[in-house]
């Protein structure tokens, strides 16, 4: 099934008023998700105003859709209002996500791209708009619903959360608020001990067995 065929099938289902339960059974369990993976990803089920907003120049390892998805995930998953935590807008979260994804092999990266597109488009069936266009509270509900969902849903919700969380907390600017020390050896002036001395081989060599 090609990408366009997949999109047409999903669009047709949407127009026929397919239920959420049927969508999940058909798309996620019934194998269309896998077919989409083989086809290289979904086309967009519904346009977003963000589709016209280009990603930053540095985001050459993310598609435009992926950039906006992770930026929305950043806002939804990392609220800091009313806390001493560093606002996520001051942390290169999406840049760090791109960095992590850059380590993936081509085949895995392609699977992830398909999954991200599925996550984005899946929101159309639940909320009438793509994930990138959900408000923060609805986006969080969407994550929670997928966290309670089937295997593919749980996988995608977990993967996106973990990428986003790690990309925030790996940044040094987030540490002071929670008293995380980070690297300490140089700060403490610890001495390098070097290699361990050779074992006493005289005794070893005298043994026929240990």
């Amino acid at each position: 099934m090609t990408q366009q065929q997949t999109a047409r099938r999903l669009s047709a289902a949407l127009q026929q008023g397919v239920t959420r339960r049927r969508f999940l059974k058909w798309t996620l369990v019934g194998g269309a998700g896998v077919a989409a993976a083989a086809a290289g990803g979904f086309a967009l089920l519904r346009l977003s105003p963000l589709d016209d907003q280009p990603e930053p120049d540095w985001a050459d390892g993310l598609s435009r859709q992926e950039y906006h998805l992770f930026d929305r995930a950043r806002v939804a998953l990392l609220p800091t209002v009313g806390t001493d935590l560093t606002p996520s807008s001051q942390v290169p979260v999406v840049h760090n996500v791109q960095h992590i994804l850059g380590f993936m092999g081509a085949a895995t990266r392609k699977d992830v791209a398909t999954g991200l597109s599925l996550f984005d488009n899946g929101a159309v069936f639940f909320h009438g708009k793509r994930f990138v266009d959900l408000d923060e509270a609805t986006a969080r509900d969407y994550f929670d619903a997928w966290g309670r969902g089937n295997v593919i849903q749980r996988t995608l919700a977990t993967v996106i959360k973990q990428l986003t969380y790690t990309s925030y907390w790996r940044d040094e600017s987030t540490w002071a608020a929670v008293e995380f020390d980070g690297p300490v050896s140089e700060q403490w002036g610890l001495a390098y001990l070097g290699n361990a001395p050779l074992p006493d081989e005289t005794s070893l060599n005298q043994e026929s067995t240990v």
């Binding site: 380590f103 929670d144 959360k161 070097g194 240990v210």
Partner: protein, 512 residues
């Protein structure tokens, strides 16, 4: 025998950047694939006996001084698949070192001898009659002495360990300090990122420099692609040397009459399968186990700072024997990146509140005696770790989880977070049953990590049901050995590094 040339720091390693030829051919008595626990120990033990040894490591050489003590960066630099190695369904992170020194560089220093009852199982079920406690004891003693393995001293039991110990005592459960392979621990808490100041006695600062002192040569960035054999005898390996930019620098052939595979329980069977060797039994890649573990975090009323102090202080062995449950609870430190992966406290504000209180979190690691139900194989040119927690093991996992929750509560924790994909918080003993029994053994429901892949080229007396014999030698190909955790015919419940060191010492001795 040539002069011994021990150096006080660093390792003489040939890296891709040092290679100027497009093709290399080396001759050796023994070529060893992998430089971790099995490769380094066999390398030293054979080199000091005068054998000409070449050690090939697929990962990079990263000197200790370059360790960053930043876990996400360390995952990318030092671990297999840059920290992204998982089982087929993606719900089990399989962490293995992929650098010179292998997993010994990034483990948490925990040292256990193989439990006697495990050795008895091996004798009874796999015909490994030589591997008795008495036979193994001198090998354990040697590696314990060589690697400064001792009980944690009181100052090495961090706040999180002190809390857990007090809770265990309150419950009347047996709790002990860990033994660790470390000299003068600096209490940085960064074990999993490599020990920057060379206190952890990993292979990087012990057996590998000792092996090179006796003339062994180490090549990093060198992935073995095929084991070579003729007429039922090993004759060497083919490898590719690849630069850090991903471009191949050179092809390499090492001619040797002895080949030791010590690339770990995932890579070793993959290499054998790719080479089409040593699989008359059909067992190569089968019987994979991995101690799927959970990190059970809990919020305490006082600051714990789980990232401060020695990472692992004490463990509860009350349930170690299979008749008592077949699991171990280990007090475990963690940094911020690790903590984000451990629990599902809720999305958005609840998660950020959980992390804002990170200094109040303590953790327990559960290890279970899992059945050998997994398979390592190739599928369309991609490696596959086909392992799901067996239904037979799920009750054990739940018992371990319940015990961890009880222990946290007895230690004073206010909330225990079940490491599941949905939010489950335990606040009292009355909550435990419902929170844990409601779990399903389904992919992506539990957040599991494996640090101990094992069993995928098991040893045994019967060539029809095992890959290698008790001396680590292939039943099918003379001169071809396995000397890593692939050997272990059953999972051993406890951290396996000392088991591998001891078996590798024995294998080398019997080869020489």
């Amino acid at each position: 025998m040539s002069e011994v040339q021990w150096r006080s720091s660093g390792l003489p390693v040939t890296q891709a950047k040092d290679v100027t030829q497009s093709s290399l051919t080396l001759d050796a008595d023994v070529v060893i694939v992998g430089s971790g626990a099995g490769g380094a120990v066999t390398g030293y033990e054979l080199a000091r006996r005068g054998k000409k040894v070449v050690i090939l490591e697929a990962g990079p050489y990263v000197p200790s001084q370059e360790f960053t003590e930043r876990f996400p960066e360390s995952l990318e630099a030092l671990y297999q698949d840059h920290g992204g190695q998982t089982n087929k369904s993606g719900d089990l992170l399989v962490l293995q070192g992929a650098c010179v020194g292998g997993s010994t560089v990034v483990n948490a220093c925990v040292c256990f001898r193989t439990p006697d009852f495990i050795l008895e199982d091996w004798q009874r079920d796999f015909g490994l009659s030589d591997l008795t406690s008495e036979e193994m004891a001198p090998y354990f003693e040697r590696v314990e002495k060589n690697l400064s393995i001792e009980d944690n001293k009181e100052h090495e039991i961090a706040r999180h360990g002190q809390l857990i110990r007090a809770g265990a005592n309150k419950l009347g459960w047996s709790v002990k300090p860990f033994k660790r392979n470390i000299r003068d621990c600096a209490l940085t808490g960064h074990c999993l990122s490599g020990c920057k100041t060379e206190r952890k006695q990993s292979m990087l600062v012990s057996y590998l420099p000792w092996a090179t002192a006796h003339g062994a040569r180490i090549y990093a960035d060198s992935r073995v692609t095929e084991v070579l054999a003729e007429n039922g005898r090993a004759r060497g390996v083919r490898a590719e040397i690849t630069g850090h930019d991903g471009n191949k620098v050179a092809d390499m052939t090492v001619n040797a009459e002895r080949v030791i595979l010590a690339a770990g329980a995932v890579q070793t069977p993959l290499l054998l399968l790719k080479s089409g060797l040593a699989n008359r039994s059909g067992q190569v890649g089968k019987n994979f186990a991995c101690h799927p573990s959970l990190y059970v975090s809990a919020r305490y009323p006082e600051p714990v700072h789980a990232w401060r102090g020695a990472m692992l202080g004490v463990y509860v062995d009350e349930f170690l024997h299979p008749d008592q449950g077949g699991f171990v609870l280990e007090d475990g430190g963690a940094g911020l990146a690790e903590l984000t992966m451990t629990a599902e406290p809720g999305t958005g504000e609840p998660f950020m509140a959980f992390m804002e209180d990170a200094k109040y979190l303590g953790g327990l690691v559960t290890l279970i005696h899992d059945h050998n139900v997994g398979t390592i194989r190739w599928e369309d040119g991609r490696k596959v770790i086909d392992y799901q927690l067996a239904n037979a093991d799920f009750p054990s996992m739940k018992r371990a989880l319940k015990a961890a929750a009880r222990l946290h509560l007895a230690s004073g924790a206010e909330q225990v977070y079940v490491p599941s994909s949905d939010k489950r918080v335990i606040r009292s003993e009355a909550d435990i049953e419902q929170a844990v029994e409601g779990l399903e053994n389904a992919p992506q429901h539990l957040r599991m990590v494996s640090y101990h892949p094992q069993g995928s080229c098991r040893m045994g007396a019967d060539p029809d049901t095992s890959v290698v014999n008790a001396d680590g030698e292939s039943h099918d190909v003379k001169g071809l050995y396995v000397a890593d955790a692939s050997l272990l015919p059953t999972s051993i419940i406890v951290n396996p590094q000392v088991t591998v060191y001891a078996l590798a010492t024995r294998i080398a001795e019997r080869m020489a």
